[in-house]
């Protein structure tokens, strides 16, 4: 069952085989399609949203979606409590979610790579120190940590990104370190070292490329988590400022109306579920394709 890292590199270089794996997993494929669609929506937000997401029209507040009585096609998903177009806000909200997720993961994985590599490769006291801090942060309940830090720092997009970036870093450190340790002890890195390869060479040629798979996999799950938790912070009034249309803020504002204008909270909720779902499917699939060692089962 054990597949050597070299083999997996070989596997990636064979396009047909790659494509076959992609197509074989329908769930993964649909996740990919969904995710690409969401990214496209975020990029093309100004083109596809029918209205300005911040434009209020108080005479038109809490208009139901088009398919319900009283709704109209001008606002396909209805309007919120201030008469802002729900569809446009959902579309623009994807930008906030993806920004938070992308940059959050970028920061977390950069820190994770740097410290994970150091810990795993240098070892010794450096390793113990890094892992001590890592375990420390991981022992505080994640949400509690995020909520407390958010309340200390105050509401802004940058703060939200930084909070997710730093609080998620320990996980990346752990994964990176584990991989590095495994690779170091694998035969081919040992042999590279034994024939006199420099440390830089070993890290850049033999270790880093093999970290991409596991890191990408974790990144996908964590990005989904950040999008999920941005909504959670929004619910507590600790996410981005209310003037920014984020799904979390929309959900938070919509909860007052849940019994009589349920669409205001339902659509951002669905958006979060769909995005999260797509990334989870994608993550599962990436784990299978990019990281065959962790492949758990026959599909």
């Amino acid at each position: 069952m054990k597949i050597d890292a070299l083999d997996s590199a070989g596997l990636r270089s064979t396009p047909e085989r790659f494509a076959r794996i992609v197509l074989r997993d329908k769930a993964g494929l649909s996740g990919l399609v969904l995710f690409v669609a969401i990214v496209l929506v975020a990029i093309a937000a100004p083109l596809i949203s029918p209205h300005d997401p911040l434009q209020q029209n108080l005479r038109n507040s809490r208009l139901p979606p088009a398919w319900q009585d009283g709704g109209n096609l001008e606002h396909p998903l209805g309007t919120d409590n201030l008469g802002r177009d729900m569809l446009s806000r959902i579309v623009y909200g994807s930008r906030v979610s993806l920004t938070v997720g992308f940059f959050g993961v970028l920061i977390a994985s950069s820190i994770g790579l740097l410290f994970g590599l150091t810990a795993g490769y240098v070892g010794g006291k450096t390793d113990s120190a890094i892992m001590a801090v890592t375990n420390l942060v991981l022992s505080v309940p994640y949400l509690l940590l995020v909520v407390v830090v958010a309340s200390v720092l105050g509401r802004s997009l940058l703060n939200v990104i930084l909070i997710f970036g730093f609080t998620n870093a320990p996980l990346f450190i752990r994964v990176t370190r584990g991989e590095v340790l495994r690779l170091r002890n694998s035969g081919y890195v040992e042999s590279a070292i034994s024939i006199g390869a420099s440390r830089r060479h070993v890290i850049w040629i033999h270790i880093l490329p093999n970290l991409i798979g596991p890191i990408l996999t974790v990144a996908t799950f964590e990005m989904s988590g950040m999008i999920f938790y941005e909504a959670g912070l929004g619910f507590l009034g600790l996410s981005v400022p209310p003037s920014i249309p984020s799904w979390g803020n929309m959900l938070a504002a919509g909860r007052q109306y849940i019994q009589f204008s349920p669409w205001i909270a339902t659509f951002p909720g669905l958006a979060i579920v769909l995005t999260s779902l797509s990334m989870n499917l994608l993550g599962d699939w990436m784990r299978d394709v990019l990281d065959p060692r962790q492949r758990r089962n026959s599909k």
Partner: protein, 505 residues
């Protein structure tokens, strides 16, 4: 095991007996939107906690629904010529819930406790500079300066406590299981879950209270509060949104209660720092800007019409409010005329700020104001700021010349609000100084006679309409709901209530 069993048998038989002799206990279930931090009214940090606490206490005086001061634990009082000495004659034969007698010593002890710095509302107790016992049922209360608001503050904040019990348990424990003379006595407080009070059978107000039990349930989530009143798990809820109130109106078994609260929203001008040299120094410009904003449209669209137009920073429940003063009508032509007269026919540009997330829909109000001002040529550079930063800058007088804010007041008079918002350099949140206003406020603050003070308020009210230091916006309403069998629930403009009158049909 046997013990528990016999205890249960005893309990059941006791219940059985109670049922035969007494009718069913009537219980009022009230949702509170926050978690009381203490049940001691002098420590309870905010209005909701105070509302729970005050059901168990009395003060020497009481403010009725019309905000007129009435006797409570004091049967009557006399005020000296200079307005600095109040002699209170106390009600006799009143007992605290634990049997301690109420007398002059209790009043003196309560005050001495109240002025200690660790008491949340010590500044309210400290409005009196001395409280002395004359005899068992007479106390003399002295103030450093004549203080026309003293009685109102006493009614709001001076909860009289039993000396022996309070000293015995200490202030912290007192806040957890308080003892007062009020209509209800404390039974239990299951933290964050329920606070149970029971009827004080020997209450000095004859025939009150009218229910046997009150149970307060903290429910912080507004949508859960709304669900709980719908299902009938709760009899009274407050702090609903206008939309929730609208939705509840159509539901059987629920009655919506709504009333204006003692809070005024406004846009300030500045003549102390950032506004110096701006066109808004000219009273004609300030009047023009009041004409330019269609405040009724804002109220209609953002608050479902449920708010009142403000005049002169006073609310109708305040002493000296003059109902004959008409709010500025929406008249953009008049606004343009005044601007031209003042030398700005093409308008001007000016900075404008508002806090984010601090008040319901206030960001939208600010944006609407911006739009209306733009229509008469006044271009504002609106900055919606994080509220913490906003108030920091406000305290430092570093906000732009225009900013939006609000001020609530619980004393029943507008003096603290007017002083706070217009007190010039002396008041930390004021950006405005006007000698005429200063003079009137000074006179109000030393006049003890209610009628004279009301006359001064009216004069000020009129003056502030002619030379407005603000764009007056609106006085909001608050929305509550009760089950339809709840009678005589009488909340007041400060969002406070006394449940002794309330009963269930």
């Amino acid at each position: 095991m046997l013990l528990a069993l016999s205890a249960m048998v005893l309990l059941f038989s006791a219940c059985g007996q109670a049922e035969t002799t007494e009718p069913e206990l009537s219980t009022l279930r009230v949702a509170v939107p926050t978690f009381p931090n203490s049940l001691d009214a002098s420590v309870a940090a905010e209005r909701n906690a105070q509302n729970v606490s005050w059901q168990m206490f009395d003060s020497l005086v009481w403010a009725n629904e019309q905000n007129v001061i009435e006797p409570a634990l004091a049967e009557r009082w006399e005020v000296s010529e200079d307005g600095r000495e109040f002699t209170f004659f106390l009600r006799q034969n009143v007992e605290f819930h634990n049997g301690e007698p109420f007398n002059a010593d209790a009043v003196v002890f309560s005050w001495e406790r109240g002025i200690q710095p660790h008491i949340e509302w010590s500044d309210r107790w400290a409005r009196a500079s001395a409280v002395e016992r004359i005899d068992d049922y007479t106390v003399l209360i002295t103030t450093a300066e004549p203080d026309p608001l003293l009685l109102g503050v006493m009614a709001q904040h001076w909860n009289i406590v039993p000396p022996v019990y309070t000293q015995e348990v200490g202030d912290d424990r007192f806040g957890e299981s308080p003892v007062g003379t009020g209509p209800f006595r404390f039974v239990e407080w299951v933290r964050e879950d329920r606070i149970v009070l029971e009827r004080n059978d020997s209450y000095w107000r004859e025939g009150l209270p009218r229910v046997d039990r009150v149970v307060f349930r903290p429910i912080p989530e507004a949508s859960t509060r709304m669900a709980a009143i719908q299902t009938g798990e709760i009899d009274i809820v407050n702090r609903l949104t206008v939309e929730q109130a609208g939705a509840l109106e159509s539901i059987d078994g629920v009655r919506v209660v709504t009333y204006p609260i003692d809070r005024v929203f406004y846009i300030t001008f500045n003549n102390l720092t950032s506004g110096i040299g701006e066109p808004t120094m000219d009273p004609r410009v300030r009047r023009a800007m009041n004409y330019a904003v269609d405040r009724q449209a804002i109220i209609d669209s953002l608050f479902g019409g449920r708010a009142q137009l403000a005049t002169g920073l006073m609310t109708p429940s305040n002493l000296g409010y003059d109902p004959t003063i008409e709010p500025f009508p929406f008249d953009p032509d008049r606004a343009r005329e005044l601007l031209a007269e003042a030398g700005f026919p093409d308008g001007f540009e000016i900075g404008f700020a508002a806090p984010a997330g601090a008040y319901t829909n206030f960001e939208q109000v600010a944006e609407a104001v911006q739009g209306f001002l733009g229509d008469v040529g006044i271009v504002t550079d609106l900055e919606i700021m994080e509220s913490g930063r906003f108030w920091d800058l406000q305290a430092e007088k570093q906000l732009p010349p225009l900013f939006g804010d609000s001020w609530s007041e619980r004393s029943g008079e507008s003096l603290p609000r007017l002083r706070g918002a217009l007190g010039g350099w002396d008041a930390s949140f004021s950006q405005w100084s006007d000698p005429v206003i200063d003079d009137l406020l000074d006179r109000i603050s030393v006049t003890v006679d209610q009628n004279e003070r009301a006359a001064l308020y009216r004069e000020l009210h009129r003056y502030m309409q002619e030379d407005p230091p603000f764009i007056y916006l609106y006085i909001p309403e608050t929305f509550e709901a009760v089950r339809s069998n709840v009678q005589d629930y009488l909340p007041r403009a400060a969002e406070d209530f006394f449940l002794m009158f309330t009963y269930l049909e």
